[in-house]
């Protein structure tokens, strides 16, 4: 690569990192068991971005691209493929002490319990919508799904979440619009 191209790549990455580091950290902190693991997610995500800086889309789409990478990194972590890269040593150590410990109990515990009982796909769609604040079209980009499929999956995920909350004693409003249909239980077309 020419020095000029290298400079452009470095500036591009620095801007990307500055604009999105906390979004990716927040994404990771909300999904991993230990704050330290979030540091590794951030490191591996941005390492991927640096190595493929020419592919990262511009503008707001870059954050969705990063979320897509982070999602796969988190999935690999959950499968036991935890990469403790030395790159993240300092961040890992500091995240352990910097991240506040949430208070026990409360409605958050009930919601977390209900969420944990949902299938992974449903949980992730709800999290991207409610925690990262993504619109269905943006979620579709992160999950690489058609937009219409994402919308219907969001609807389905809400229906299932409502059922889980009801099982925990939090009732649903039967007069709400788009009253949840009965689950078909079909094994096919599950991607709908």
């Amino acid at each position: 690569m020419s020095p000029e191209a290298d400079d452009r790549a470095r500036r591009r990455f620095e801007d990307l990192f500055a604009a999105n580091r906390r979004a990716v950290l927040g994404y990771a902190l909300r999904r991993v068991a230990e704050p330290a693991d979030a540091a590794d997610v951030v490191a591996e995500t941005f390492l991927t971005a640096w190595r493929r800086i020419g592919e990262v889309p511009g503008g707001d789409a870059s954050r969705l691209w990063l979320f897509g990478v982070a999602r796969r990194v988190v999935a690999n972590q959950r499968r036991g493929d935890l990469r403790r890269d030395r790159l993240a040593d300092r961040l890992r150590a500091e995240v352990r002490t910097a991240v506040p410990v949430p208070p026990p109990g409360g409605i958050g515990a009930d919601v977390a319990a209900a969420l944990s009982r949902l299938p992974d796909d449903d949980r992730e769609i709800l999290a991207l919508h409610a925690w990262e604040g993504l619109a269905p079209a943006e979620i579709a980009t992160v999950l690489a799904l058609p937009a219409a499929t994402t919308r219907t999956r969001l609807h389905r995920a809400r229906t299932r979440m409502r059922a889980e909350l009801a099982a925990l004693g939090i009732t649903t409003n039967t007069t709400a619009p788009a009253a949840p249909p009965a689950t078909s239980g079909q094994a096919t077309r599950e991607e709908r």
Binding site: M1, A5, R10, F13, R22, A23, L25, G26, L29, R30, A39, V42, F46, L47, W50, R51, R52, I53, G54, E55, W65, G68, V69, R72, A75, R79, L87, R90, L91, A93, E94, V95, A98, P102, D121, L126, H129, A130, G133, P136, P146, A147, A148, T149, R151, T152, H155, M161, R162, T171, T172, N173, A176, P177, A178, A179, P180, S184, R189, R192
Partner: protein, 367 residues
């Protein structure tokens, strides 16, 4: 406590493990800068790479399920399938519509053994797509992506697999992986990656053994455009069939001014019928909801009533009734129709107008 969709979203947001504000306040700037600098020293940046379509790998299926299928189609059981809208003219050698030929020419055209039928196809164009094959209860998915970084995909699959073998697929070098479970033990879930021209292809399936999976691969064969197009399942609406399919879908649907039906018909993306139905009904419903909003704001009672009548009628649109079984799109659309017509209440704290105006973009893709 009552939980509507709106309340549910707020409940979930309030239960976030850590808020964006809390994340922003973390005292980690120095450590992050150190990470950034270490990354730039450690990695190799290349300014120019082929465009990588950030298509996330699907979660590993917990049971036999097709993953993603590429442009190859099995002409097997499809031999008896009538794909009239795809063929032009008559005679032994059908003439395919130009757009269909264009898509077929751009995509790799592979089929499995004759006992595998092409069961499903999502949206795809020549450069990228997925299809699924089925044989009884067995499923195979194959996908293709053009211009992607093959090495990145190989590295990605390797992270979830301790078992890997270099093989050949149709004479081309390929990487075969056997996925691990969370404890690191091998499963019966296999995937293979290989390149055809500038496409990266991936075929994934459950198999009883590596040999069984390789036997499946051994049945892959390249076919011509005619065979490939003939193998499309009936639920796939080919480009040349799109206009006719849309005309039929709209037969019992009132179309307000502002819906560019001709533009809908001329798009060349291949979709399955469900996705096309969502696109078409979404365009019409959004247009009626827009007219309803304008009418309410302007105090135009006749226009408001006309929109409400049209939206109430959506419960009888044949395409939506057909789509009920395979997915939830109709329920989403009817939810908005019900609020606009007054058949259902909006979430607590929102008026009907606010609910439609503020959430229909997310819910239906309006605007």
């Amino acid at each position: 406590m009552s939980v509507t969709d709106h309340d549910l979203d707020r409940l979930l947001a309030a239960a976030t493990p850590i808020t964006n504000r809390e994340v922003a306040a973390l005292q980690l700037d120095s450590a992050e800068e150190a990470l950034r600098d270490a990354i730039m020293r450690a990695g190799d940046a290349t300014a120019k790479r082929p465009q990588w379509t950030s298509r996330a790998r699907r979660e590993r299926p917990r049971r036999l399920r097709s993953v993603i299928v590429a442009s190859s189609l099995v002409g097997l059981a499809a031999a008896g399938t009538t794909i009239g809208v795809f063929r032009l003219g008559s005679g032994a050698q059908p003439a395919w519509a130009a757009e269909a030929i264009r898509v077929a020419n751009e995509a790799p055209r592979l089929l499995l053994a004759s006992d595998w039928r092409l069961a499903d196809a999502n949206e795809f164009t020549g450069p990228e797509g997925e299809v699924q094959f089925k044989r009884g209860r067995q499923e195979v998915s194959l996908n293709w992506r053009r211009g992607t970084d093959y090495a990145v995909y190989v590295a990605d699959r390797a992270r979830s697999s301790h078992w890997r073998r270099a093989i050949t697929v149709l004479g081309r070098p390929a990487s075969l992986f056997r996925y691990d479970d969370p404890t690191g033990r091998p499963t019966d879930d296999y995937t293979v990656l290989w390149r055809v021209g500038d496409h990266t292809l991936e075929l994934r399936s459950i198999a009883s053994s590596p040999a069984a999976f390789e036997a499946l691969l051994g049945s892959l064969h390249e076919v011509d455009v005619d065979t490939w197009l003939s193998a499309m399942p009936e639920n796939v609406v080919k480009p040349s069939g799109r206009a006719a399919a849309i005309t039929a879908m709209l037969a019992d649907i009132p179309i307000p001014p502002g819906v560019d039906v001709e533009a809908l018909k001329t798009r060349t993306q291949i979709k399955d019928r469900y996705q096309l139905g969502a696109e078409v009904t979404g365009a019409v419903a959004c247009a009626w909801l827009d007219r309803w909003l304008v009418a309410v704001h302007g105090g135009d009672t006749p226009a408001r009533e006309a929109a409400e009548t049209a939206l109430a009628g959506s419960r009888r649109w044949a395409i939506l009734l057909e789509m009920q079984a395979p997915g939830d799109w109709p329920e989403v659309l009817w939810g908005y129709a019900d609020v606009a017509t007054g058949a259902a209440a909006p979430p607590k704290g929102m008026t009907r107008v606010e609910y439609v105006a503020q959430t229909s973009t997310d819910g239906l893709g309006c605007g």
